[in-house]
């Protein structure tokens, strides 16, 4: 009996030791310490204009180009399209396949075309990413029909997406095409985007993707 008591005590002690460990680790507390004098890199307010984190167009802020992205995008092939009336063609650079801009009295909107290998996380994930960019809550799969419709792009079955945010809106096309997913996204001022819906459809209808599989 005595030895079993000793064993129990030992067991209890080690349990206590184990349970006390998580509380023994460093607690988050306000602290104060001295460091050698630092030189601020930027003290001139003028330098702020070049600060890369807050470009005038928030849409440009969203895409972080990771290593390998450009190469992957380059494999998707090229596309041809007609620039709708009143839209301005910008230079496509980096991972962008095409880049257009439209402005009106309300503001401006930018159209970007991107292509990535695979399904890039799936239809819903990508649409929810766009929704988040204009401050909308993530959507459930059963709500998709409310703002998407099947749409033929370059003769293949794609999806047309219409997202209205408070300040910004997105009109988009999404097309799985020979192992790649193409994203056509018009994003910008809410009114500008919505006023250009007809033009956006004209643009999507004009898109022809390079197709070496037929």
């Amino acid at each position: 009996m005595n030895s079993s008591l000793a064993r129990f005590l030992l067991l209890a002690a080690s349990t206590l030791f184990l349970l006390s460990l998580p509380t023994a680790c460093e607690r988050a507390e306000p602290i104060s310490y001295k460091i050698p004098k630092e030189d601020r890199l930027v003290d001139m307010p003028g330098a702020v204009a070049q600060a890369p984190q807050t470009p005038a167009d928030p849409a440009a802020n969203k895409m972080q180009v990771l290593p390998g992205m450009e190469e992957a995008a380059a494999q998707a092939g090229e596309l041809s399209y007609t620039t709708p009336e009143g839209w301005e063609a910008l230079e496509a650079s980096g991972i962008r396949k095409a880049n257009l801009k439209v402005s009106d009295a309300h503001g401006s909107a930018e159209l970007t075309v991107l292509a990535f290998p695979g399904d890039v996380g799936g239809r819903l994930a990508n649409i929810n990413r766009w929704r988040a960019q204009i401050g909308l809550e993530a959507s459930k799969p059963e709500d998709l029909p409310a703002y998407t419709e099947p749409y033929s792009i370059s003769g293949h079955g794609g999806l047309y997406i219409r997202l209205e945010g408070l300040e910004q809106s997105i009109l988009g096309g999404l097309l799985p095409f020979h192992g790649f997913t193409w994203f056509f996204k018009l994003q910008g001022n809410r009114e500008t985007v919505l006023a250009n819906e007809a033009q956006m459809k004209i643009f999507l209808d004009s898109v022809r993707l390079e197709d070496d599989h037929h």
């Binding site: 079993s4 008591l5 064993r7 129990f8 030992l10 067991l11 080690s14 349990t15 184990l18 460990l21 998580p22 023994a24 680790c25 460093e26 988050a28 507390e29 306000p30 602290i31 104060s32 310490y33 001295k34 460091i35 050698p36 004098k37 630092e38 601020r40 890199l41 930027v42 003290d43 001139m44 307010p45 330098a47 702020v48 070049q50 600060a51 890369p52 984190q53 807050t54 470009p55 005038a56 928030p58 802020n61 969203k62 972080q64 990771l66 309300h106 503001g107 799936g122 819903l124 988040a132 960019q133 401050g135 993530a138 799969p141 059963e142 300040e167 001022n189």
Partner: protein, 391 residues
């Protein structure tokens, strides 16, 4: 008491616990797709209980969305295994020379379990980017943030008052260490997108001081990301008080960093720089990057070596200064910290070192040695007994 002891020392318990561990690893691996390794580790292995939910992308989600599987987490399983092993030892094993090998193996295993727990609790990881020709004396976390108020008025040093971001809870007021200031958090976003308010729309901001007002910055909260190569833009609106006087409300975010003019909190003739930044750890030594090499196999883009040639300058004791070459599997161990070659940037001009402080780093080595030794002893004894019998 006896039944409790029989329960903890039973071999059946070991089998059940090991089976649960396999289940945990299986579901943990499944969920790694959503959360990345870091969050999965927290969720599954550094917890007592975990509930697995049927994933959205899986087939028949519409029918099975309600499916939840609760299971014991890593701490619970590890702890139970630890007790199980200990209890089994106390009941079954007598310390005799015959059993010394088995004893060593099990002791090594217990030590391994303890060292894992210690690593979980005590290890701190951070990153130190250094430019070629440049020096750095601090590293920064890539997940944890701190709110800092820096007093630069002293000619010899800067005084940093830091509040961990985990204490920034909306509505709560936190006293700033070693000062009369306190900070009340209005809102805190673990991740957010910051942008300029477009012309024409009114600027909606809680801030009344600093860069948010001057540049018209608006905040759009975002879902937290767990991806490995993504960072969360922690952002907060904070009100600073000196005693009971409000000094203003600032927008702080870890992207409003050195590229921006400092945000200044002014009270009388005293001033502090305020910023939310990745938690920094300062060292009493500087690491100078002499050269970073990124060697490729000739004629290809395939790398075969990344290495950083560094000089460590100790600020207080120059005899401790030393040169080192850090490369794959050859970290620099210095003053309780380990510096690994982690990454590089800036066209091979910046090397990024991973800094790990793990007080228990030696324990796994010892435990593996003990287990190896135990096995050698045990099998060796049998082997020599067998040889003896034959002759």
């Amino acid at each position: 008491m006896k039944t409790l002891f029989t329960f903890f020392s039973s071999l059946k318990l070991t089998v059940v616990l090991l089976s649960f561990s396999m289940v945990l690893i299986f579901f943990g691996t499944l969920d790694q797709v959503h959360y990345g390794i870091w969050h999965t580790q927290k969720l599954y292995f550094e917890s007592f209980l975990v509930v697995w939910a049927y994933p959205q992308e899986a087939p028949a989600y519409e029918q099975l969305f309600w499916l939840r599987i609760p299971m014991p987490g890593g701490y619970l399983l590890g702890g139970m295994l630890f007790l199980n092993l200990l209890a089994a030892h106390l009941t079954r094993f007598q310390l005799s020379t015959k059993k010394i090998g088995i004893f060593l193996v099990h002791f090594g295993l217990v030590l391994l379990l303890v060292s894992e727990l210690l690593t979980d609790l005590l290890a701190v990881e951070s990153q130190m980017p250094v430019d070629e020709g440049g020096r750095s004396h601090y590293s920064q976390s890539y997940r944890d943030n701190e709110l800092v108020l820096i007093d630069r008025s002293h000619p010899d040093y800067d005084q940093v008052h830091s509040i961990p971001a985990t204490l920034l809870k909306p509505g709560e007021r936190v006293d700033v260490a070693e000062s009369t200031l306190s900070v009340r958090t209005l809102s805190y976003y673990p991740n957010a997108a910051l942008g300029r308010a477009t012309s024409g729309t009114p600027l909606e901001t809680a801030a009344n001081r600093g860069v948010a007002v001057k540049m018209g910055i608006v905040v759009t909260p975002q879902a937290e990301t767990y991806a490995e190569d993504d960072i969360n833009t922690a952002t907060a609106y904070v009100e600073v008080f000196n005693g009971e006087d409000s000094l203003g409300i600032w927008l702080v975010s870890n992207v409003i960093d050195e590229r921006f003019p400092p945000q200044i909190v002014q009270s009388g003739d005293q001033s502090w720089e305020i910023a939310l930044r990745f938690t920094r750890q300062y060292y009493p030594f500087e690491i100078e990057l002499i050269d970073f090499s990124h060697d490729k196999y000739p004629g290809t883009e395939i790398p075969f070596n990344y290495s950083s040639e560094v000089m460590v300058h100790h600020m207080e004791d120059s005899t401790k200064s030393q040169k080192a070459l850090i490369y794959m599997n050859h970290p620099l161990r210095y003053e309780g910290h380990t510096f690994y070659q982690a990454s590089f940037a800036n066209q091979d001009k910046t090397s990024i070192l991973q800094v790990v402080r793990n007080p228990g780093w030696l324990l796994p080595y010892i435990s593996v040695l003990l287990m190896g030794l135990g096995m050698c002893v045990q099998f060796g004894m049998h082997f020599f007994k067998f040889l003896g019998k034959r002759s």
